[in-house]
């Protein structure tokens, strides 16, 4: 058992490493493509060559990010086949279909038009070039759509039926998979976070130019575009975050409880504005989970259930149950899960023996409880709880950063419009220093989404421990370090090439 745990831990670490590195490149592409498209639209509308040169400078940085980040996500697909083969088989075409559409439609569209966008300035007409730039923006966002449809299904599996003969989930309703509320809110929240990051990126680099008192007009105009885009998309990010939290409350209440460090459920539950968790806190010990906390009253009830007096179950309610509020315990779900697994075993045995009557009975019993079959693998109820400190701090770093970004966009836009930005050194430095926070918030968002889903690979159906392949832990350890070296090398290359280009500056174009 210890070896299995070690294998699962290393497989998870490797996947997390790949995903987190991949996510350093993706959100910038998602957002910068739109900013570049907006700048080029201004150029085509006004015919002002200055905007063409501005567009080309930011497009150069986009190209660096695109080239270095390209295909880093493919490695996750290799890992599905090697490290997570049980998972890959069980998710079947539900996961395969969106990933295939992403590759065939969105990625190829994005890549084809990227070539025209980057190399075709003097080779195609202005309008064709502008169309290509917008199609790159659309294609990169469509890529994200299909990936997040697949991811949303893991968080809230719908539109499928598990076939006990093939051990695969088969899609029986594409619309249900595509319009899965979890996937929709996740997609909107993710792409808008990319737009915000790209806005921060443009503001940070432009602020540096203003601090250095070089390329002043270029920097001011770039900040004006980025802060307008950032402000609009920040509002959208807030709205989609609210929708995302609402979906989490309905479908993944354990994740919501972990996000807020809520152990004992409450009506009129508040959101922790700031707090430090007690490191000695254990599930069910009834101790106050915080050393100190500042709370916004009723806010969590409203966020999760859109009602100020709604009851929000805590970790203890979800693990041990709460009859008064009709919260089913993990213990009860574990019993049902074990019945489902036994029924699956019986179905297999009866079918092998040719006893189709008993096989059918077992199949029906399995279908009755299959939605919680994953609980049958848990050894103890507390295993259904993710790492509360990791989720709590990641969530709060993300929210606090997002709030600061909104304020930053308001300030930079206001001072840009009043033509006073170049004199506000403190704001320029803040704009520059905020960029790492943007990346940190991105990574924290993914930690909340993915580590908050633990112990599940597929929510309630398949724990990560059952999703792994029986392969050697050593080979996973070797490839973990191989990836760490490869990705770090790519990141260094990206930063180095970008810094060179930024240092050359838009002068090369102006």
């Amino acid at each position: 058992m210890e070896n299995t745990d070690l294998l699962v831990d290393w497989s998870r670490a490797q996947f997390a490493l790949t995903a987190l590195y991949h996510w350093l490149f993706v959100p910038l592409t998602l957002g910068l493509t739109f900013i570049v498209a907006i700048m080029e639209t201004i150029y085509v509308k006004t015919g002002n060559e200055w905007w063409k040169k501005t567009t080309k400078f930011w497009m150069g940085l986009l190209a660096i990010n695109f080239a270095v980040g390209l295909a880093t996500g493919i490695i996750m697909e290799f890992e599905f086949g090697t490290n997570w083969s049980n998972y890959s088989w069980i998710v079947g075409d539900i996961f395969g279909a969106p990933i295939a559409i992403e590759g065939l439609m969105a990625f190829f569209m994005e890549s084809t038009f990227f070539a025209i966008m980057f190399f075709g300035w003097e080779k195609v007409s202005k309008r064709m070039h502008l169309t290509s730039t917008w199609l790159v923006a659309l294609g990169s966002n469509l890529s994200a759509l299909w990936i997040l449809v697949a991811n949303g299904w893991m968080q809230h599996p719908v539109g499928m039926k598990f076939n006990p003969d093939t051990a695969r989930n088969e899609m029986d309703n594409f619309a249900e998979v595509f319009f899965n509320p979890n996937a929709v809110s996740k997609f909107l929240h993710t792409i808008s976070s990319g737009y915000v990051l790209a806005s921060l990126f443009v503001i940070a680099i432009s602020s540096w130019y203003l601090i250095k008192k070089r390329d002043v007009l270029f920097a001011k105009r770039s900040i004006l575009v980025a802060s307008s885009f950032g402000l609009l998309t920040s509002i959208f990010l807030l709205a989609s975050g609210d929708d995302s939290a609402f979906n989490v409350a309905q479908k993944q209440p354990m994740k919501l409880a972990a996000m807020e460090g809520l152990y004992n459920g409450e009506s009129r539950a508040g959101i922790i504005f700031a707090g430090v968790l007690d490191v000695d806190k254990d599930i069910g010990d009834k101790k106050d989970p915080f050393y100190f906390s500042l709370e916004i009253p009723n806010a969590l009830s409203f966020l999760g259930y859109h009602a100020l007096d709604a009851f929000v179950p805590g970790v203890d309610d979800l693990v041990y149950g709460n009859e008064k509020h009709h919260v089913e315990s993990v213990i009860s779900k574990m019993e049902k899960g074990k019945i489902a697994l036994q029924a699956l075993t019986d179905y297999k045995r009866f079918k092998k023996e040719g006893n189709m009557v008993e096989a059918e009975k077992s199949r029906k019993l399995f279908e009755k409880y299959q939605s919680v079959m994953g609980y049958g693998y848990l050894e103890k109820p507390e295993d259904a709880v993710p790492s509360v400190p990791l989720i709590f701090y990641s969530f709060h770093i993300m929210v606090a950063s997002g709030s600061w970004f909104l304020l930053l966009f308001i300030l930079t836009l206001y001072f840009s419009m009043t033509n006073a930005l170049a004199d506000k050194k403190w704001l320029l430095w803040a704009g520059l220093m905020t960029l790492p926070m943007g990346y940190l918030a991105q990574e924290c968002g993914w930690i909340v989404a993915e580590a908050g889903r633990q112990p599940w690979a597929i929510q309630d159906i398949l724990p990560v421990g059952m999703a792994t392949s029986n392969i050697s832990t050593t080979s996973v350890q070797i490839t973990f370090w191989l990836f760490a070296v490869l990705f770090t090398g790519l990141l260094i290359a990206e930063v180095k090439i970008m810094l060179t280009q930024i240092n050359i500056g838009p002068k090369g174009e102006h």
């Binding site: 150069g60 270095v68 890992e79 059952m466 070797i478």
Partner: protein, 55 residues
């Protein structure tokens, strides 16, 4: 187009590392490599799902 050439070089080196070295040497598809047919794969996964005590 010095930047363009440098980016192409990075892309080609990276694709070689990912698709030739990593995929071929380190990431065989576990089920495709160890089983010949889909029914064998299904049987294996069902066994994995129902024999929890061995994991």
């Amino acid at each position: 187009m010095k930047l363009g050439k440098r980016l192409w070089l990075i892309i080609l080196i990276k694709l070689f590392i990912i698709f030739v070295l990593i995929k071929v040497l380190f990431f065989p598809n576990h089920l495709k490599t160890n089983f010949k047919t889909d029914s064998e794969r299904s049987a294996y996964i069902l066994e994995q799902l129902t024999q929890t005590e061995e994991r």
